[in-house]
C-alpha cells in the first residue's frame, strides 16, 4: 500500500456530519496536496451553509463544487444541496440533477462510484457517521478499483448505521476512530 499514489480523497457523511467533520477538516494543513471531495446529506431547500461554516475553520480552500471545474489539490469541495456531485475521467467535477439515490441528492454512492472510476487506485474513500446506508455500494466500488477504503469506527461514530452498512459491503475496509482518520489523512500531507 503506497499512500503516495493517492490522488484524491472522497468523504461521505450524514447524521452527525458537521460535528465529525469539524474534528477532521480543520486538522488538515494548508500544504495538503490533494482535492477533498465531500458529500454531506443536507435538506434540499437549505442553501448549503457548509462552505461558510468550514471556510473560517480550515487552512485549506473550501468551496462548493462547480460543474465542469477541475478538482485541484489543497481544496475542499462540498457537493451543492440538491445536486449529485460526480468526477469525470480527467478529474473534472460534474453536477447532475438525476433522481435521488438512497433517497439522497447529493448521494455518497454517486460521488464514490464516479470518483473510483476516475481515480481508480488513486482514490481514498472515507465513510463517516450516518443513519442510512448511502456510501456502502460506493465504498465497495472504491475498493474494487484498487483504492483505499476507510470507515469510521461504528462504536464511536455519532451515528453507527452508515459505517456499519459500509463495513458490511466492504469488509476489508480499515476501521478507524476520528483521530485515526485524521492521522491517515496527515500521512498524505
Amino acid at each position: 500500500m503506497t499512500d503516495t499514489a493517492i490522488k484524491a480523497v472522497a468523504i461521505g457523511a450524514s447524521a452527525g456530519a458537521v460535528q465529525t467533520l469539524l474534528r477532521i477538516l480543520p486538522s488538515l494543513p494548508a500544504r495538503f496536496p490533494l482535492p477533498v471531495l465531500i458529500v454531506v446529506h443536507v435538506p434540499p431547500d437549505r442553501d448549503n451553509a457548509l462552505v461558510a461554516l468550514f471556510a473560517d475553520k480550515c487552512a485549506l480552500a473550501v468551496k462548493e463544487a462547480e460543474d465542469k471545474e477541475q478538482a485541484v489539490g489543497g481544496t475542499i469541495y462540498f457537493a451543492p444541496s440538491d445536486y449529485h456531485l460526480l468526477v469525470e475521467a480527467d478529474g473534472f467535477l460534474a453536477l447532475s440533477m438525476d433522481e435521488p439515490v438512497n433517497h439522497s441528492r447529493p448521494a455518497i454512492d454517486v460521488l464514490f462510484e464516479s470518483a473510483a472510476d476516475s481515480y481508480q487506485s488513486g482514490l481514498m474513500g472515507i465513510v463517516l457517521t450516518g443513519a442510512n446506508h448511502d456510501g456502502a455500494a460506493g465504498l465497495r466500488a472504491v475498493a474494487q478499483a484498487g483504492g483505499q477504503a476507510i470507515v469510521e469506527n461504528p462504536a464511536t461514530a455519532e451515528t453507527s448505521a452508515m459505517p456499519e452498512a459500509a463495513l458490511a459491503a466492504c469488509p476489508d475496509a480499515r476501521i478507524r476512530d476520528v483521530e485515526g482518520i485524521v492521522s491517515i489523512l496527515l500521512e498524505l500531507a
Binding site: E66, D67, K68, E69, P80, Y83, H84, L86, V87, E88, A89, A94, L95, S96, M97, D98, E99, V110, E113, S114, D117, S118, Q120, A145
Partner: protein
C-alpha cells in the same frame, strides 16, 4: 479492467444510437451518462451494455425506452423561485416594451418550466402576445408536456414555489384537480409550439426574446455546451435574455463574451450587441 470494458461498450452504444437513430449522446458528461446506461441495462434486463446495444440496433422499439433512462426527466414547477422572481421583476419590464414576444423553453421535460413561465407571463399581462416554443428530444416528455397533467401530490410544493416567485394569482386558478391529478388549463398551452429539437444536432428556428434552458447544459461536456450556447446566441434577438439553471454558468464557455450578467445570482444573462 471491468470498468474499462464498460467504457468501450458505452462508447459503442452511444455510437450505435447516433448512427442508427441520430440521437447524439456522444458528448454528454460521461460519468453521469454511464450511470444511466448501467441503470438502463439493469432495469431493462440486458446482461451487458453490448447486449443492449445489439437489441437497440435491430429493434427500434428499444429507443424510447432507452431514452427514458439516458435523458433525465427531473423537474418541478417554479423550481428555484428566485429565478422566476428575477424574471418577473427584472426581465419582464424590458419584455413589456415589445409588441410581440417569442420565448424558448429548451429541454422542457414534462412541461413544468413551460407552465411556470406561461403562468408568469399571464400574470404579467404578456400571455396574449407571447409565443412559447417548448422543445425536447424525448418524445414521451413532449407528449406529457403537451398534456400538462401532474400528480396532485406535487401541487403543494408547486404552490409554495409559485408564491415565492412573487405570484399575483393563485396556482389553483390554472388547473382542475381530479382523481389525484391536476390538469393545467389549455389556455396556458394555446400559444405553445411543442416540438422535437435537439440542442446537439438541430439548428436555429426562430428569433427569441427569452431563452430559458435550465439543467440541460449540465449534462453536456464543455464542447457541447459551447455548441448549445452558440445556438442560443444566434437565436436571440438583439439584447435578448438567456436563463440557465442555478448551478450552470457561462464561466467556462468560449461564448462567455457574447453575453453579460443581467441577474448574476439567478444565472440570467443578456446578449451583448456586436
Amino acid at each position: 479492467m471491468q470498468g474499462e470494458v464498460e467504457d468501450i461498450e458505452l462508447q459503442l452504444l452511444l455510437e450505435a444510437l447516433y448512427q442508427r437513430y441520430h440521437y447524439d449522446f456522444r458528448h454528454y458528461a460521461r460519468a453521469s451518462i454511464k450511470r444511466r446506461a448501467l441503470q438502463a441495462r439493469a432495469q431493462l434486463g440486458y446482461s451487458s451494455i453490448s447486449a443492449m446495444q445489439e437489441a437497440l440496433l435491430h429493434d427500434p422499439s428499444v429507443v424510447p425506452r432507452l431514452l427514458n433512462y439516458l435523458t433525465v426527466q427531473v423537474s418541478e414547477m417554479f423550481r428555484d423561485p428566485s429565478y422566476f422572481r428575477a424574471l418577473r421583476e427584472k426581465v419582464i419590464p424590458h419584455l413589456k416594451t415589445y409588441p410581440s414576444l417569442k420565448v424558448w423553453v429548451a429541454g422542457c421535460s414534462h412541461g413544468e418550466e413551460l407552465y411556470s413561465l406561461s403562468i408568469l407571463f399571464h400574470e404579467e399581462g404578456l400571455g396574449q402576445r407571447t409565443i412559447f416554443y417548448a422543445t425536447d428530444i424525448n418524445p414521451d416528455a413532449l407528449r406529457a408536456a403537451e398534456a400538462g397533467i401532474y400528480p396532485a401530490a406535487l401541487i403543494q410544493k408547486y404552490t409554495e414555489n409559485h408564491q415565492k416567485s412573487g405570484a399575483r394569482s393563485s396556482l389553483s386558478d390554472y388547473y382542475t384537480a381530479d382523481y389525484g391529478h391536476a390538469a393545467f388549463d389549455k389556455t396556458l398551452s394555446r400559444n405553445v409550439v411543442f416540438s422535437d429539437h435537439s440542442l446537439v444536432t438541430d439548428a436555429v428556428f426562430a428569433e427569441m426574446h427569452l431563452i430559458s434552458c435550465r439543467n440541460v447544459l449540465i449534462y453536456f461536456d464543455r464542447d457541447l455546451q459551447d455548441r448549445a450556447l452558440g445556438l442560443f446566441r444566434d437565436s436571440l434577438a438583439r439584447r435578448g435574455f438567456l436563463g440557465l439553471g442555478s448551478k450552470e454558468s457561462l464561466r467556462f464557455s468560449k461564448f462567455a463574451g457574447a453575453f453579460e450578467d443581467f441577474v448574476r445570482e439567478d444565472k440570467i444573462y443578456q446578449k451583448l450587441e456586436r
